[in-house]
Symmetry: C2
DNA sequence: GCACTCTTCCAAAACGTTTCGGGAAACCCG
DNA sequence: CGGGTTTCCCGAAACGTTTTGGAAGAGTGC
């Protein structure tokens, strides 16, 4: 029952034409007669001919794949992001007839090396770079090689033009701070990651800027950080934040995962939310609406970001990075029950 | 700054060797001297040489990719599955040095056609088939072509040997039914999908078999079904189930998504869970532990399934489908607060 | 009838890799 | 020293595609 897929050679033999003519007929060139073109196309669809990807890639240099490297360890990334983001990418890529080549970096592998391997194997026409760190080495590497890419997030040092799309975490945390200030809060806290993730940097910066506008500042002991993917350290950090002498009345958390842990720790200490403490997160995880109280947070519309990143990447592949404007997209404020007026 | 990746040709010229020798040295053949082999390898790593994927694929017929087609429309699939499953696949594939080629089927495309395209383009060494329907045409197609594949799920009609891995939904719902019977329940209900998903079929069958053992049966009006991805129809179906004259005291739901909607509808009707009604779901979505009351459900350990499916597929690619045993894996019962003794 | 131009087709080369089938030294043994 | 075996290397072909540079034939204008 196993039958080999017909190639250009078989198709041309069957039609009594040369390989060249068949190829050009399918590509729609005008130097093959309309009659022949139709005859070829009919035969191609009838036999289910699809151009071999490797052959085409070898000749044209275009593989039809766009690459994404994901780490295997980052459970938080998977939960919050991966499914939605990948779906968004896939949606936009499908419209352009391209596919997503998803490479997993195992525990032992440095993500940068995996990226280099993917690029050097010529297996993709461009890369999506996600989970950016402040000084992410991947960006410089890709710029150096002239590999088309779009950064989902931002880096701090790179001055050469490159395409990126990021959620405006600074604006979001600024907005949150102003809302809480209007509700009478004066003592703020921040629960964040100790890893140099760029998003954490900007969210903190947005909070601090808004506080500065109001003549306030984050007390050093009102800032707690934990490494990603370490629940114990996270609980400890949350606990520390709840036990400082002058406990903040409002704590902003860099992600919902952090916020939910913080709320759990608060519950264990009989700290009532939002009466004693207002909590705001970021990500709008599905669980956040079911937490009790419902978590006030921001929605970054990850799937839409995926669509936009893919479209930008297609543009970079077509016309180069200079022609593509970076995008800063606003996150939606999702007010729920975890924040309220400052305690008297 | 843009520099072209060195190919075998450049590498061999630089070393004063033939392309053949460089290729064979890197492949570790014994007909190149140990000295030369080392020299070649050193030069290769120094220059960051990685074999071109297209060239290799063209010659060897192996692309290094494993394919997965996902539909763009199925939000429920994304939430519950995609991230974890893809992560599991990626983890196992990375160990084998392979990548995942993720193709998205747009709204207009039939998934079967997309699958055929991927296969006929020769862009993958094997396929993962997910979201199986009872009479899924993809299975026969792939068997006919002799394409290596693993089915995540099961089909009903196909007698030819093929590799599949499925969660034992029948056993799980049987277990749930027996536990509820032991708690005194006698009137059961089922909320499921109207689409011919195989998992829904088996879960229902498991429930009915367990009831039959106890001399009971599902009343026709105690079965409600809604199409996937239609929240309104789902709420309507849940409502119908809650308003039958002799309301069931225990309702099993084919997925957590269904169960959570059911619980919301029950709350609107002031039906207390678990006092008046026990609810059991399936999937153990993150939200399920935050629902109130916490949803009793089953955990299929999707990420582990992804790992296992990928390992099976690698085996099928290596040695053919006959050598690979299908796997039926048990789901873990996750008791929470949404089920309890039958009302008096 | 000649010099053109169009139209329609094709042979061959190239992309980068792997592998088949040698082939030239060097070594071994009597 | 001559025959045979090892060791180490290489040229060339092939995978399937796209594209370059024609070439053959038909039509056109004079």
């Amino acid at each position: 029952m196993e039958r080999r897929q017909p190639r250009l050679k078989e198709l041309s033999r069957e039609l009594g034409l040369s390989i060249t003519t068949v190829s050009r007929a399918l590509a729609g060139y005008s130097d093959v007669s309309a009659t022949t073109r139709e005859r070829v196309r009919e035969a191609a669809t009838r036999s289910g001919y699809v151009p071999n990807r490797a052959g085409r890639a070898l000749k044209s240099g275009q593989t039809g794949f766009v690459g994404l490297v994901v780490p295997v360890r980052d459970a938080q990334f998977i939960d919050a992001f991966l499914g939605e983001f990948v779906m968004g990418l896939g949606e936009a890529l499908a419209e352009a007839g391209r596919d997503l080549a998803l490479t997993t970096a195992t525990r032992r592998q440095v993500e940068m090396d995996v990226l280099a391997h993917v690029v050097n194997a010529g297996q993709v026409d461009g890369m999506v770079v996600s989970r950016a760190t402040c000084e992410d080495p991947r960006v410089g590497y890709l710029i150096d090689r002239g590999v088309p890419f779009v950064l989902h997030g931002r880096v701090l040092g790179e001055t050469r033009p490159h395409a990126w799309l990021d959620t405006d975490g600074a604006a979001a945390f600024g907005e949150a701070a102003r809302r809480l200030l209007a509700l009478g809060h004066r003592r703020f806290g921040l629960l964040t990651y100790s890893d140099p993730m760029t998003f954490a940097h900007y969210r903190r910066a947005g909070l601090e800027a808004a506080l500065a506008e109001a003549g306030l500042a984050l007390a050093p002991e009102a800032i707690a950080a934990a490494p990603r993917g370490d629940p114990d350290a996270l609980r400890a950090a949350a606990g520390r934040l709840l036990e400082v002498p002058e406990r903040p009345t409002a704590i902003l958390c860099a992600t919902d995962t952090l916020a939910i842990t913080l709320m759990e720790e608060a519950a264990r200490r009989a700290i009532a939310i939002p009466r004693d403490l207002s909590v705001v997160g970021f990500d709008n995880l599905p669980v956040s609406s079911y937490a009790s109280p419902g978590l006030t947070t921001f929605d970054a519309r990850i799937q839409e970001c995926g669509v936009a990143v893919a479209r930008m990447l297609l543009a970079v592949i077509e016309t180069g990075p200079a022609a593509v404007e970076p995008k800063l997209v606003a996150a939606d404020f999702i007010p729920r029950a975890s924040h309220g007026p400052a305690p008297a």
